[in-house]
């Protein structure tokens, strides 16, 4: 048996004359979809696997499919004769373009075998001369295969050898997905041995020292392991000491390491190659001169053997010295290594003479967390799920580690400035920050998309809805960095089957009872506009977490993300909320573990409706009232005159008079939503739910908790802007309680109220069938519905026709948008990158543009 080793992700090129048995071999040695055969592709494009005239088109298609497979990270085998260098070169190029290793497996079988096999096939008539020519070409190629770029070449020379060959797939050296951690990932050390010792101790490791007292290992009692991002050496006071410690930890299985550009250069220097002795290399060489030749050799070999990047924890964590874009994860090529060591460089240098590096992290969209070093930064900062851990210890900054999966930063300060930086570090605060790119990419939101939600799985957005949402988001919405949430639509209750109402509380209580939700809370439906308020505790929180400019400490936006107010009015309202939150003590209790938070996201209603919908009220509702008023009174007068003449117009007169009264009632209904405001005078805000705070969401806190927070805000509000929300808890299985709920609604709407929203008391709860229950069901008042269904909807004949309304689509939409809303909040509070938050928020907007009956 011959074992042919191939990299687990590679492009395997079979080479052999016609009749050498490539297809038979491939069918046995590889999976059914892994092999792309030129004959098969000739068949696909020309209906005939032997049509040599179709070769060009067949190879175009084959290359296309191979590229798609390699993009997806799948091993791919090309089954064609490949005896000509030309054909092989295009395949080597293809492999390189996808950063996978090309492998050649040559079937160099005797000519008579190939000729005999060809002769035995009745579908093909290749003369012996063709086979002979192919074999000649093959033999001439053999020696040059490695030079052509094939990293592995296997040659099988007999039928027996082919039959005995077995493929062994070797994982890439970067592929350490089985290593699950937990890890402590350590940034650039640069010879700062003392700080490294201090950091390891702070992380909980016990140092192991050799007889000379030098640290040679560090052991964590919980079995944690360190991962070094490279640049252990140069510039600092004790590069050999650092390497000794890290080599020891790696050898003992207590650490993993990737090389930095400084290790690579050190290897070349130790090999005696021509290198520019700069950037601290001189110090290292001088320090190593005091070590033994054996140690120098050990350092050289160890550095040389390091793999440029590591993929860990099932693919969820990638470590590389200068970071790595997603398409390079678990790939092997010169440019992958170069990226990992040097970053995405332009070849230019900046004003300090340092290489200009591209902000690859801004465009990073991968799910894996990428940790790296290389570029000193003052504060370790999350950018799109990546973090640079080089905080310039050797330049007098900090030595930084990130606990993974906890994502907790641990730092020790530099003992002194060991080396003056070429470019000054910013001030040296410690801690972490988050820098969201201020501009997202259209490919994050355009086209038909599926957004994965924890609550409902995949939620799909149609392309045309995304297109509409892009226009509204781009032209009217607030900065996406400040747009964490858009509220979901809400379904009304099922239609009342009879009586003089279209909506009645009984149907809402019935719905929750049949869904197994026993206790609900009825909340007064405020007569305003839905408002989402992001309020920061202070300017520092606003700028640090959200990148807000000076003078902006939050946003107040509508359900489609539009700002309610100009900057001054918005800040005035935010100040009211901020002061109330301070007085109520919310800032120090709503954060993680009931600790402090720098910001709050509140769900609220802003009154009056005319603040936002003034134009709609005037141009639509008031206009209808005016038209009706001016038309119906003269009509009634004309009909009365006709009746006085004895004409039979009694029915028409009654109906017209009723319409006149309905029109007056209609005007009364919309007028309740209008009152003048000036600045904050007249403006009311009723918060009713806490959506999120630093590192925390609140969808499993019951609604009485939320309303209690709201009550505390209202009580603490000295400005008189905040308003409470009336509520009543109803046990839907208790007749008396349900009766009380109905009476409460009847009083509320009888006094001119809009209606109520019924919610499961427990907030996010599961229904009888396991899915989430509707988060709320609205029951709107009889008079309010006049402005929705028209002035005359209450006429019995109209009511009967309006009862047939279909709610299924609206309910489905409400749940999907709810799931997306919570998904966005979860992503925003768990430190996920902005594009992931925006994806969910954008999807809510896109779903809102689906055509459903707007009266629901």
């Amino acid at each position: 048996m011959t074992t042919l080793t191939v990299p687990a992700l590679s492009l395997v090129v079979l080479v052999g004359a016609s009749g050498s048995g490539k297809s038979t071999f491939a069918a046995r040695a590889f999976g059914p979809f892994e092999t792309l055969s030129s004959d098969f592709f000739r068949g696909l494009v020309a209906n005939d696997p032997n049509d040599q005239g179709a070769t060009r088109a067949a190879f175009d298609a084959l290359h296309h499919v191979a590229a798609a497979r390699l993009d997806a990270g799948l091993l791919t085998v090309v089954d064609a004769t490949n005896v000509q260098a030309q054909a092989r070169r295009s395949l080597v190029d293809l492999a390189r373009a996808h950063d996978v290793l090309p492998v050649a497996i040559v079937l160099d079988l005797p000519e008579e075998v190939c000729v005999a096999r060809n002769a035995a096939r009745d579908d093909r008539d290749l003369g012996a001369h063709v086979v002979r020519r192919q074999r000649d070409q093959l033999r001439r190629s053999l020696r040059g295969l490695a030079k052509e770029g094939f990293r592995t070449v296997h040659v099988l020379r007999s039928v027996d050898e082919v039959e005995a060959a077995v493929i062994a797939r070797q994982p890439l050296r970067s592929d350490r997905r089985d290593e699950r951690g937990p890890f402590d990932v350590v940034g650039d050390v640069h010879g700062c041995r003392s700080e490294l010792e201090a950091l390891l101790v702070r992380l909980g490791y016990a140092l192991v020292r050799d007889d000379a007292g030098r640290p040679v290992d560090a052991v964590h009692p919980a079995g944690r392991r360190a991962v070094f991002v490279g640049d252990l050496v140069d510039r600092g006071p004790d590069s050999p000491g650092v390497v000794r410690l890290v080599m020891g930890m790696v050898a003992a299985g207590h650490a993993l390491a990737v090389p930095g550009n400084h290790e690579e250069k050190l290897v070349r220097a130790l090999d005696g190659k021509q290198v520019r002795v700069a950037h601290g290399l001189a110090e290292t060489l001088e320090q190593l001169a005091g070590e033994s030749e054996e140690f120098r050799r050990e350092v050289r070999d160890w550095c040389d053997g390091l793999v440029a990047h590591l993929v860990l924890d099932g693919g969820a964590l990638v470590v590389a010295h200068a970071g790595l874009k997603e398409s390079f994860h678990n790939r092997a090529s010169g440019r992958v290594r170069s990226f990992a060591l040097y970053g995405d460089t332009t070849g230019e240098t900046d004003e300090y003479g340092l290489p200009v590096r591209l902000p690859w992290a801004d465009d990073y969209r991968g799910r894996a967390t990428v940790l790296y070093g290389h570029t000193p930064t003052a504060v370790p900062t999350w950018v799109n799920n990546t973090m640079c851990l080089d905080t310039g210890c050797v330049f007098g900054g900090h030595l930084t580690a990130l606990r993974y999966p906890e994502r907790e930063v641990v730092q020790v300060p530099a003992e002194r400035t060991w080396c003056e930086p070429a470019r000054p570090l910013d001030a040296v605060p410690s801690g972490t920050a988050r820098r969201d790119p201020d501009v997202l990419d259209v490919s994050d939101v355009l086209g038909r998309r599926s957004v994965e939600t924890t609550l409902l799985g995949r939620v799909t957005v149609a392309e045309e809805n995304a297109a509409g949402a892009l226009e509204v988001m781009s032209r009217f919405a607030v900065d996406p960095r400040w747009l964490l949430y858009l509220p979901p639509t809400m379904s009304p209750c099922a239609t009342a089957p009879d009586g003089d109402l279209l909506e009645h509380p009984a149907q809402a209580f019935d719905a929750y009872r049949s869904d197994g939700v026993g206790t609900v809370v009825c909340e007064e439906k405020h007569m305003g506009s839905r408002a989402v308020v992001l309020v920061c505790r202070d300017q520092a929180a606003a700028s640090g977490r959200f990148g807000m400019p000076d003078g902006v400490t939050g946003v107040v936006h509508t359900r489609t993300g539009r700002p309610f107010f100009d900057a001054a009015r918005s800040e005035a309202l935010l100040a009211v909320l901020r002061d109330a939150a301070t007085t109520a003590g919310l800032w120090d209790t709503l954060g993680p573990d009931d600790g402090p938070t720098g910001w709050l996201l509140l769900d609220a209603e802003l009154m009056p409706w005319s603040v936002k919908a003034g134009d709609l009220l005037r141009h639509q509702y008031a206009a209808v009232g005016a038209a009706a008023r001016s038309a119906l009174s003269p009509a009634v007068d004309a009909l009365r005159a006709a009746a006085a003449r004895g004409l039979d117009v009694a029915g028409l007169l009654d109906r017209t008079d009723a319409r006149r009264r309905n029109a007056d009632a209609f005007a009364d209904a919309y007028r309740r939503y209008v009152w003048p405001t000036d600045g904050l005078d007249g403006v009311r805000l009723a918060p009713f739910q806490v959506l999120a705070a630093d590192g925390r969401t609140f969808e499993t806190q019951d609604h009485l908790w939320h309303l209690d927070v709201a009550d505390r805000l209202v009580a603490a509000d000295a400005a008189g802007v905040l308003q409470g929300t009336r509520r009543l808890v109803v046990d839907v299985d208790d007749e008396a309680s349900v009766g009380a709920g109905v009476a409460w609604w009847t009083d509320l709407t009888g006094a001119g109220g809009e209606g109520m929203v019924v919610k499961p008391l427990g907030n996010l709860v599961r229904g009888r069938r396991g899915g989430p229950a509707q988060p709320g069901i609205k029951v709107r008042g009889r008079e309010y519905l006049r402005i929705i269904y028209g002035p005359d909807y209450t006429e019995p004949a109209n009511l009967e026709r309006l009862r047939s309304r279909s709610l299924g689509r609206k309910r489905g939409l409400a749940l999907r948008e709810y799931a997306l809303g919570l998904e966005g909040l979860a992503r925003a509070t768990s430190g996920e990158p902005l594009w992931r938050v925006h994806e969910a928020v954008f999807a809510v907007l896109a779903l809102e543009s689906e055509p459903v009956d707007p009266r629901l």
Binding site: T346, G347, E348, L358, P359, D363, D438, V439, D441, V442, L446, A467, G468, A469, L470, E471, V472, M473, S474, R475, F476, D479, V552, T558, T560, R562, W609, A613, D615, Q620, A622, A623, V624, A626, A627, A628, S630, A631, L632, P634, A635, D637, A638, L639, A641, A642, R645, L647, L652, T656, A663, R671, V674, I788, G790, S849, P851, V852, D853, R855
Partner: protein
């Protein structure tokens, strides 16, 4: 809705003959949208008033034909149609008084031929352009016109008048002429879209004006008003999002003027022409602006150009006519604008060689987009002023930082010049969607800062006549990249 026609005449009761409706009877006629009743509130020997009362069924109105076209707009369910005297009243008038309108009265032909002292009362006429419009349309036809505006809401006086007027017409005319005038002109006054009157009805209305419409001094205005009405309410995703947020669909879905996509084959010219209030004889500013941009692109030696915010494609059309521009991409954030651009440019029937030079795609200047990178030049013609100031940083980074073409041409209004537009009220802007308009100093400050940030030089120019005091109407800034390579190119 209601229309009354009164005559004060010794033979007033003879009006019944002319109308073919007996003064002592109540008659009704089923219509598609309800029932039309004809009755006489007054029928004395010397005074006769006939009333047409149209009882519209609002629920059937929605469920009837045509409802699907306008589907899912709240305005479809709650609107003025059951009350306002417009197309439905005109249609009813035409059916109920068909013979009278034709001027036929077989029994007593002389009654149809004589002029009657008439008083028409139509309350609740939606009147676009205010009371003056009603006078302009009816007065030349021999009517004494009395127009009383209807307040929007008497309890909220600060809201002022509604778009409805109470219309009284007095004159001595043939009954047939009076009916024809109402039939044609009432819908013309309307300010709203015709949700339920099909194009065939419109054509019928126009035909009814034969004989007097051609000589009407406001003939062109009448024609224009009709055409503007033909715009259908396309329930776009954007319009629906406006409604979700209690805004009128037109408030958000305004990238293309409403009448634009209803008139295939007719090119109303650049949308911006009207904004600028040019004197009619001069070369329109929009044209000069476009020429100036093309000139800058030629000077820059650009062969490939991306037009960011291409709107209806006016610049693209000009660039297509110059073969030196061999690769053009027009992007806009509005899918509707792109549809109109594709139609205006005749993309579907364009010769293949020409077609191969141009693409259209939806994109946004506040998002990065790999598709807009790699062009010799980018154009932001009358675009930046539509971006909220806090979002300009995103536009700068997307265009100058990421797409980073060698040349970027920006045009924007010069706010200082606004005082030269007599129709523009002080302190207002040239377009309702403008988020700001910059003075020359403001543009210079922004352009220089942005250019510094992203490695460009900037040259500031003007378009249009350079007024010694307030400068040219349009400002133009040319950004030229100073660094050889950029992020995206090297990647």
């Amino acid at each position: 809705m209601l229309l009354t026609l009164t005559t004060r005449d010794d033979a007033a009761r003879d009006l019944g003959f002319v109308l073919h409706k007996h003064p002592d009877r109540v008659q009704w006629f089923d219509q598609a949208f309800g029932v039309a009743h004809v009755l006489y509130p007054q029928a004395d020997d010397d005074v006769v008033t006939v009333a047409l009362v149209l009882e519209v069924d609002p629920v059937a109105l929605v469920r009837g034909k045509g409802a699907r076209d306008a589907a899912f707009s709240l305005a479809q369910y709650v609107n003025d149609r059951p009350y306002a005297a417009s197309s439905m009243l005109a249609v009813a008038l035409g059916r109920v008084f068909r013979t009278a309108m034709a001027g036929r009265c077989d029994q007593r032909p002389e009654l149809a031929e004589r002029a009657w002292p008439l008083e028409v009362h139509v309350p609740s006429v939606p009147c676009r352009g205010g009371a003056d419009a009603a006078v302009r349309l009816f007065a030349p036809l021999g009517w004494d016109v009395e127009v009383t505006p209807v307040p929007l809401d008497p309890t909220i006086p600060e809201w002022g008048d509604s778009r409805y007027v109470d219309l009284r017409l007095r004159g001595t005319l043939r009954v047939a002429d009076a009916l024809q005038h109402l039939y044609v002109l009432l819908p013309t006054l309307d300010a709203a879209k015709h949700y339920w009157v099909g194009l065939d009805e419109v054509d019928k209305l126009v035909r009814a004006g034969q004989g007097w419409l051609a000589d009407h001094p406001a003939r062109d205005e009448i024609a224009r008003r009709y055409l503007a009405h033909r715009g259908s309410l396309v329930a776009s995703a954007v319009a629906r999002l406006a409604e979700v947020d209690d805004a009128e669909p037109e408030a958000l879905d305004d990238a293309v003027p409403a009448d634009r996509d209803a008139l295939p084959g007719e090119d109303p010219g650049p949308a911006v022409a009207g904004e600028d209030g040019d004197p009619p004889a001069a070369v329109p500013l929009a044209r000069r602006r476009l020429d100036a941009v093309v000139e800058q692109l030629r000077l820059a030696g650009a062969r490939s150009v991306v037009d960011l915010g291409c709107g209806e494609g006016h610049l693209l059309g000009a660039l297509l006519d110059d073969p030196r521009f061999d690769r053009l991409l027009g992007v806009d954030v509005s899918p509707r604008a792109l549809e109109v651009a594709a139609r205006r440019l005749h993309l579907d029937t364009m010769p293949a060689r020409r077609r191969a030079r141009i693409e259209l795609a939806q994109s946004s200047v506040t998002y990065t987009d790999a598709r807009v990178a790699g062009f010799d030049a980018a154009v932001l013609m009358e675009v930046v002023e539509h971006v909220d100031p806090p979002r300009l940083a995103a536009l700068e980074r997307a265009v100058l930082g990421v797409a980073a073409p060698p040349t970027v041409v920006v045009t924007t209004p010069n706010a200082e010049h606004n005082v030269r537009y007599p129709t523009l009220a002080a302190g207002t802007m040239r377009h309702h969607d403008h988020r700001f308009e910059w003075t020359r100093a403001e543009l210079a400050a922004w352009a220089r800062a942005a250019a510094d940030r992203y490695g460009y030089d900037v040259e500031l120019l003007g378009v249009g006549d350079d007024d010694p005091e307030v400068g040219p109407p349009t400002q133009l800034a040319v950004f030229r990249r100073t660094t050889e390579t950029t992020g995206e190119e090297a990647r």
